[in-house]
């Protein structure tokens, strides 16, 4: 049963990657990165059980905790960018 879930997650990863490569806007790509992140958390959890080494859930936990920092950094980047351009206009 882990195999079924793993295959589904891997295929979804490929779909997310396709979205990341196709774009068309940069936000689609950020969305794909975020999707890829949650899928990685799931993949690591499932594979830890597939390998019968449940103590490796630590890895999934690490990703669950810090994966969204990248997206917050994107928000701050865009915010600073728009701020700077407003400054430049005035």
């Amino acid at each position: 049963m882990y195999l079924a879930a793993t295959v589904a997650i891997l295929v979804t990863m490929a779909l997310a990657l396709a979205r990341a490569l196709l774009g068309p806007t940069v936000y689609d790509r950020v969305l794909a990165v975020n999707m890829f992140g949650t899928k990685t958390v799931l993949l690591l959890s499932v594979i830890a059980y597939l390998y019968d080494r449940p103590d490796f859930i630590d890895l999934a936990l690490a990703y669950a905790l810090i994966n969204f920092i990248g997206v917050l950094a994107v928000l701050k980047f865009v915010q600073d960018f728009t701020l700077r351009h407003k400054d430049a206009e005035h």
């Binding site: 879930a5 589904a8 997310a16 979205r19 940069v26 969305l31 936990l61 407003k86």
Partner: protein, 104 residues
């Protein structure tokens, strides 16, 4: 009892996988950014809950079950936050005077 647990986690894992997959298809096929985000984030949370619950049932009352629960709780906290931040960034940039610089 064992068999029942196995069946339930089978159902949870497979339906979780299905939801994850549907979310992926939605993110690929939807026509514009905001609808794609909707597809991705909505099924993301449901798929996550189902898959992780399925594994937790297999783990039983162990330390790893607690860790899995923590993974689930943190994912449910952080994934919508990321979605919020992303939607906000997109909205900010659309309103921005220099929109061409950030559009692809």
């Amino acid at each position: 009892m064992e068999v029942l647990l196995d069946i339930i986690s089978w159902v949870l894992l497979v339906s979780g996988g299905a939801f994850v997959f549907i979310g992926g298809v939605g993110a690929l096929r939807m026509p514009d950014f905001y609808t794609r985000m909707h597809a991705a984030s909505l099924t993301d949370t449901l798929g996550t809950i189902l898959v992780l619950l399925g594994i937790i049932l297999q783990a039983g009352f162990t330390l790893s079950a607690v860790k899995l629960l923590a993974v689930m709780v943190f994912l449910l906290l952080t994934a919508p936050t990321a979605a919020y931040a992303l939607a906000n960034a997109a909205r900010l940039a659309r309103l921005a005077p220099e929109r061409r610089a950030l559009d692809d």
